[in-house]
């Protein structure tokens, strides 16, 4: 292919310039990959933090419960909901829960708390309560077990095995009820809000103490495919939402996270736009320089009958080749750096975002689209940037060009 050989030779006539331009293009690619990887990594941590720590990827609740957190708002017909969840193939696991506000007292002190009654085994598939336990044991179904956060344990001045009393109002008769527990585990989720206020006991115990046998306030879900949670049209959601209940994915449950992710998306887009503009300028500059250098040649070429279109092709082909070479380097470096950062992370210190603790390092996440789409964008960009120079070259008037000496 003549054009190919010509283009190749032209590029390497001025290796230095080609190198510099390639450096610019491949740097853009690397930066894109890294910035995107950073954003994706951070988003994943945030989302994973929210959905896998406690809230679940989706929830089934009674309509109105999320507004008021009032204890009367229990899920309608829980047995039917549970059997539907059990049958549904998309659901990896679900955790039935009772949630109620109550006072917790030790011999030293009293404080308010939000009490979660959970099924120890089922929670393992949905949340990370068990991972958060730093002293003692996770729940095992024994009726007097209780887990509290480290700051609360310090406030109440209790150690493992000590007595704790929870005082609350029963759901059915609104009478005061108290129950004795023995501290079986201390947890640290990270976010202060959780560690200072949450208390976990066994579901059955909670139901019996609160006079709500068989009733639930919330069922948290995890899907086999996390993308399902983001899909508002998911059949399961439609199935479980009726007049009484609603089934929602985390995007609806935590709209602020969705907003933040959008913001991140904007940031990446803005960074991308800036990068592209800078790169385009560099490519245009470089191509023009290259054309000027060869203006005499172009003049000759046109004089002997090369059509403008052929010249455009040639220049564009040069640009394409340049882009491809750059992409190869860019991908290699991008992969190497992205991989490095995905293991070692970028140190940022402690950060709490919407109740999720990011500690230490931010890890990049590599994804296929970064290595397929981005090079394509960059190549297209390079080609687009080369259009103006190419058109210019095609319009060179031979007589003027041949006059140029320097």
């Amino acid at each position: 292919m003549l054009t190919f050989r010509l283009a190749f030779r032209n590029l390497f006539r001025n290796t230095r310039r080609t190198f510099l331009t390639a450096l610019l293009i491949s740097s853009s690619l690397v930066v894109l990959i890294l910035v995107d990887g950073l954003m994706v990594g951070m988003t994943n941590v945030m989302v994973g933090g929210i959905t896998h720590t406690l809230e679940g990827e989706a929830q089934v609740v009674r309509k109105g419960f999320r507004n008021n957190f009032e204890v009367e708002y229990t899920i309608d017909d829980p047995t039917s909901v549970i059997s539907q969840l059990e049958e549904n193939k998309a659901v990896e696991g679900f955790g039935p829960r009772v949630i109620i506000g109550g006072m917790i007292a030790s011999s030293y002190n009293t404080t308010g708390s939000l009490v979660y009654g959970v099924d120890a085994k089922q929670e393992l598939k949905v949340s990370r309560i068990s991972d958060a336990v730093v002293e003692g044991q996770y729940l095992s179904g024994e009726s007097r077990e209780i887990l509290i956060g480290k700051p609360m344990a310090e406030l109440l001045e209790v150690d493992l095995g000590d007595r704790l009393i929870i005082t609350a109002a029963t759901v059915d008769t609104n009478e005061i009820t108290q129950e004795l527990f023995r501290l079986s585990g201390i947890f640290e989720f990270g976010p202060e809000e959780m560690d200072k206020n949450l208390v976990f006991i066994n579901l059955e115990k909670a139901q019996s103490v609160l006079g709500m046998e068989g009733n639930l306030h919330q069922i948290a879900l995890r899907f086999i495919d996390p993308e399902d949670a983001k899909n508002p049209e998911l059949p399961l959601f439609k199935q479980l939402t009726n007049e009484e209940n609603e089934a929602l994915g985390w995007l609806d449950l935590q709209p602020s996270i969705g907003a933040m992710i959008e913001m991140s998306g904007y940031s990446t887009a803005i960074v991308g736009a800036i990068l592209f503009l800078l790169t385009s300028l560099g490519v245009i500059n470089s191509m023009f320089m290259s054309i000027y250098e060869r203006i005499y040649e172009f003049g000759v070429a046109k004089a002997i009958g090369t059509t403008p279109w052929q010249i455009i092709q040639l220049v564009l082909f040069e640009a394409l080749l340049l882009a491809l070479i750059s992409c190869v380097f860019g991908l290699a470096i991008g992969y190497f750096l992205g991989d490095y950062f995905s293991i070692h992370g970028i140190p940022i210190g402690k950060m709490e975002v919407s109740g999720v603790l990011l500690d230490g390092n931010l890890y990049t996440r590599l994804a296929l689209y970064q290595f397929v789409n981005f090079p394509v964008y960059v190549t297209l960009l390079t080609l687009a940037a080369a259009i103006y120079p190419a058109t210019f070259a095609s319009r060179i008037v031979p007589t003027e060009a041949l006059q140029r000496a320097l």
């Binding site: 913001m263 245009i284 320089m289 970028i346 975002v353 990011l358």
Partner: protein
């Protein structure tokens, strides 16, 4: 200076080359400034939202009230503090507050709430409370015609207790003297929205709250706004040294978690910014280097006719500097109105983002000296530095080689 004259003329002689190189630097500058402005601006924006909502720039408390609030930890010598604050030219405005947890009753519904006693006239000079009135009217210090003091409640209480403007609200709490505080108030307004931090708050006129809680003339907190918010930590230290009986805390301490998160987020963004800087650097490198290198022949001629090496280097550097300066100034003129607009108006986001009850829908940039001169310095320095090595090389090369290089 002859060199200057020559440099200038050289630039104008090679219009196209100068234009491309210059344009590349202008583009780099514009994008750098824009990105920088957005970066700093978004944080500045968020900090403003926070601090102007209720936190203020600096807070004053007694002892460790901030960490462990107890009703009896009050600021007593108010005259001394008021005088000190009023005298201080760096302080824009200040207002006192009192707090107490309380049980709120309406009909037979009850909910835990937080009493915030405010000075109705001074409070709007420090926070946005006045704008947060969703329904009803902002209250005053005097009781209403029926003899009841008025209260403004958060949306959470409005929903939980089904309280509307004009309804009666009963508050029960512990007084600072150990008595049981109990009284009736009339709702004059509903504040904020469902996610506001004060959704379960009851705002009372300061004197009413002090009477209710048996606080006499004492308060729990002074909130200050300063004129130069970047200076607030220094101002806080100054106040702390001056007012030894109380604890002075800048907002960075008051909202430590948020501050840490913001710092960490900034780190992540600085990383992205660093990458952009790198690209700008490569871009400038690319164009300046190329344009100097491709004039090697020209320099050879100059050497042949007697220019000394050092003169040549000076000339080249000067040319680059002049060109860079023009580019940067041009860029400055271009981007100035845009930055101004983005700082005053901001970019409209498609969806408003809700942060703790405050909705903001604009992405704002920062307008300040540093976002202009830091990129300026960077580009000028890079351009000049990049032009030196090839300049030196050109200066040392033998005329014979140089002229044959084309």
């Amino acid at each position: 200076m002859l060199t200057f004259h020559i440099a200038f003329r050289n630039i104008l002689r090679q219009k196209r080359r100068s234009l491309l190189t210059g344009l590349s630097m202008t583009g780099g500058y514009v994008l750098f400034v824009f990105g920088y402005s957005l970066l700093e601006g978004s944080y500045g924006n968020i900090i403003d939202i926070f601090t102007l909502d209720s936190t203020g720039h600096i807070q004053i408390h007694k002892d460790d009230y901030l960490d462990r609030p107890k009703i009896y930890k009050t600021i007593q010598d108010r005259e001394q503090i008021k005088a000190a604050l009023a005298d201080n030219p760096e302080i824009k405005s200040f207002t006192p507050r009192v707090f107490s947890p309380a049980l709120a009753y309406a009909g037979d519904r009850t909910a835990p709430s937080r009493i915030i006693g405010i000075d109705p006239e001074l409070e709007p000079t420090v926070s946005r409370l006045l704008q947060k009135v969703a329904k009803g009217t902002y209250f005053s210090t005097s009781p209403n015609p029926d003899g009841y003091y008025e209260a403004m409640i958060g949306q959470g209480l409005h929903i939980r207790l089904k309280l509307n403007v004009g309804d009666e609200l009963v508050l029960i709490s512990s007084g600072a003297d150990g008595s049981i505080a109990n009284d009736i108030f009339v709702v004059s307004a509903i504040i904020g929205n469902k996610t506001s931090f004060d959704r379960m708050a009851v705002y009372l006129p300061l004197n009413a709250a002090q009477e209710f809680l048996s606080l006499g003339n004492d308060v729990h907190e002074y909130v200050l706004l300063v004129n130069d918010k970047d200076d607030n930590e220094a101002i806080a230290s100054g106040l702390s040294a001056q007012l030894t009986e109380v604890t002075v805390s800048p907002w960075q301490e008051v909202e430590a978690t948020f501050y840490r998160t913001m710092q960490a987020d900034k780190q992540g963004n600085y990383f992205s910014m660093g990458l952009i800087t790198f690209i700008v650097f490569i871009g400038v490198l690319n164009t300046v280097l190329m344009s100097v290198l491709e004039r090697t022949r020209e320099f050879g001629v100059l050497r042949a006719i007697g220019s000394r090496p050092l003169q040549l280097v000076r000339l080249i550097t000067l040319e680059t500097f002049i060109l860079a300066s023009i580019s940067v100034i041009l860029g400055f003129l271009l981007i100035l109105p845009i930055i101004y607009w983005s700082a005053e108006v901001g970019m409209l986001l498609p969806e408003p983002i809700d942060m703790g009850g405050i909705e903001f829908q604009h992405l704002r940039g920062e307008m300040s000296a540093r976002i202009f001169w830091i990129p300026m310095t960077f580009i000028l320095a890079t351009a000049v530095l990049v032009s030196i090595p090839p300049g030196l090389r050109a200066a040392r090369i033998l005329p014979k080689e140089a002229m044959g290089s084309h």
